[in-house]
């Protein structure tokens, strides 16, 4: 009798796939953090209309939004070593960098940060601009510096506004990390592929990996709800 699925194989593939979860989560969380930095900087450049940088950052955002993530991943993976090599040969810069020793995870992290940063830029900008002007004025009126005003008053309020959006993009990013296998990163997807070709049971391993993604996303969604509640607690609940 022909089996639709090799259940045994499916179940046995879980431990190996899950062992690669730190790579997937690491790239997703790492690029979330880096992209928040990029997003805040580009948002502030836009809000404060910084000359020159403003043009550069809008070209950046437009380029990232207008090209496939897959292409960006290749550009980073093939482009950065070339650029480093070029700088070493032509200018003698970055001599200590050994292009061949850079792990593919690093390129993946960079590519995803650059990608997500561009998308976050707009979200962060509109979140900052959604903060009531009176909050800025009150901060200035008591003598806060722009940095204090941003860190203590504006960002916390903007974050509360942006979290649902940030969360969605983060979840999208988690799923998009499935692409990193193409540059040689063995994430959960990569591991599934390896197992699949080893056992010639692709359907099984992709079912297994999809379940892992699914559960991961559910957990993250739950977490986001909690974080959002916490970030917005000042809107209703009483502080302890």
């Amino acid at each position: 009798m022909e089996n639709l699925l090799d259940i045994q194989f499916l179940i046995e593939s879980f431990p190996a796939i899950i062992s690669r979860l730190p790579i997937t989560i690491g790239i997703a969380v790492g690029s979330l953090i880096l992209s928040l930095v990029i997003g805040v900087i580009t948002a502030l450049i836009k809000i404060y209309r910084v000359p020159v940088l403003r043009v550069i950052s809008s070209i950046y955002v437009s380029f990232i939004r207008g090209t496939p993530l897959l292409v960006q991943l290749y550009l980073v993976f093939y482009g950065i070593p070339k650029v480093i090599y070029f700088l070493q040969i032509e200018y003698g810069w970055l001599q200590s960098a050994d292009v061949n020793s850079i792990a593919p995870e690093v390129y993946a992290l960079l590519a995803f940060s650059i990608n997500l940063g561009a998308y976050l830029s707009e979200t962060i900008r509109s979140a900052i601009e959604s903060v009531d002007r009176g909050q800025f004025e009150a901060a200035k009126a008591i003598g806060m510096t722009p940095a204090q005003m941003m860190l203590k008053i504006i960002f916390p309020q903007a974050l509360a506004v942006a979290i649902p959006n940030l969360g969605n993009m983060f979840i999208t990013t988690i799923k998009d990390t499935a692409l990193v296998f193409i540059i040689g990163v063995v994430d959960i997807m990569g591991q599934a592929k390896i197992l699949g070709s080893r056992g010639l049971a692709f359907f099984e391993v992709y079912i297994a990996v999809s379940i892992v993604y699914w559960i991961l996303c559910i957990v993250v969604e739950r977490l986001l709800v909690k974080i959002e509640k916490r970030a917005r607690r000042y809107e209703r609940g009483i502080a302890s």
Binding site: D132, G134, A138, A139, K140, A141, I142, I153, Y234, R236
Partner: protein, 246 residues
């Protein structure tokens, strides 16, 4: 001790303040009255450079700041020697009542936390809100929020308090508690500028009344003079009309 010299303000080509001169002594309470759009808020906001005057000089105590050459340090000095109370309260929404009052002390004046807390509690005591320390602004009535706003403005112990229509957003039944708080602050000898449409309150609390229209000071004098014997026809019209509306 507070001197505004020939303050001009343009928004693009619109001339909003047309050479304002005011001298205020320490401890005086000055009301700024005038029709909507006459430049009252703009004037108040020029004092702490929330709006930069196009030209003119702001002097508080010994600190003289010329708008044409104001440095960041000058503006900082004006902002820490003034406290502002806003029509919309503008409490920091993400901070509790206590944190709202403390933050200027800890972050701007760099005072130690426990000392800042002690000072803040004293001030909150004065405005009667020690039972709401850990509430967020969204959990307070408008009147309570505005009293926190006054406490926050008082926290840095400024030379002068600037009130921009402090009761205009309040439900009528909440106006009195805020006016009482302002009155109590005035009684401590704080120098204050109050922009208000509460004419009876202005009349009662002010040492001096300034009547503005169209970017100039039409007339100024003691509350008694201004309400009972205004010199200018326009002042008389405005004050009597508004009194009837009250």
């Amino acid at each position: 001790m507070i001197k505004l010299e020939n303050i001009h303000k343009y928004y693009d080509s619109q001339h909003v303040l047309k050479g304002i001169n005011v001298n205020v002594n320490k401890g005086e309470v000055v009301s700024i009255l005038g029709p909507s759009g006459s430049g009252k808020s703009t004037l108040l906001r020029c004092i702490n450079f929330l709006e930069e005057p196009t030209s003119g000089i702001v002097e508080i105590s010994d600190k003289r700041v010329d708008a044409s050459s104001a440095s960041k340090a000058d503006i900082f000095s004006l902002r820490t020697s003034t406290g502002m109370v806003f029509q919309q309260y503008n409490l920091f929404k993400n901070l509790t009542v206590l944190q709202n009052v403390m933050i200027g002390l800890t972050n701007v004046k760099h005072i130690k936390k426990d000392e800042a807390k002690k000072t803040s509690l004293e001030i909150l005591e004065k405005v009667g809100l020690t039972n709401r320390l850990n509430h967020y602004p969204a959990q307070l009535s408008g009147g309570q929020q505005q009293r926190v706003g006054i406490a926050r403005a008082l926290a840095l112990n400024p030379e002068v308090l600037l009130f921009d229509e402090p009761t205009s957003s309040l439900d009528p039944e909440l106006v009195d508690e805020v006016l009482a708080t302002i009155r109590a602050v005035a009684d401590t000898g704080k120098t204050m500028f109050i922009v208000t449409h509460e004419l009876n309150f202005a009349r009662e609390i002010s040492d001096r009344v300034v009547f503005m229209e169209d970017g100039i000071i039409v007339e100024e004098g003691t509350a008694e003079q201004m309400f009972n014997h205004p010199k200018m026809e326009r002042t008389k019209q405005f004050l009597s009309k508004a009194t009837r509306n009250n």
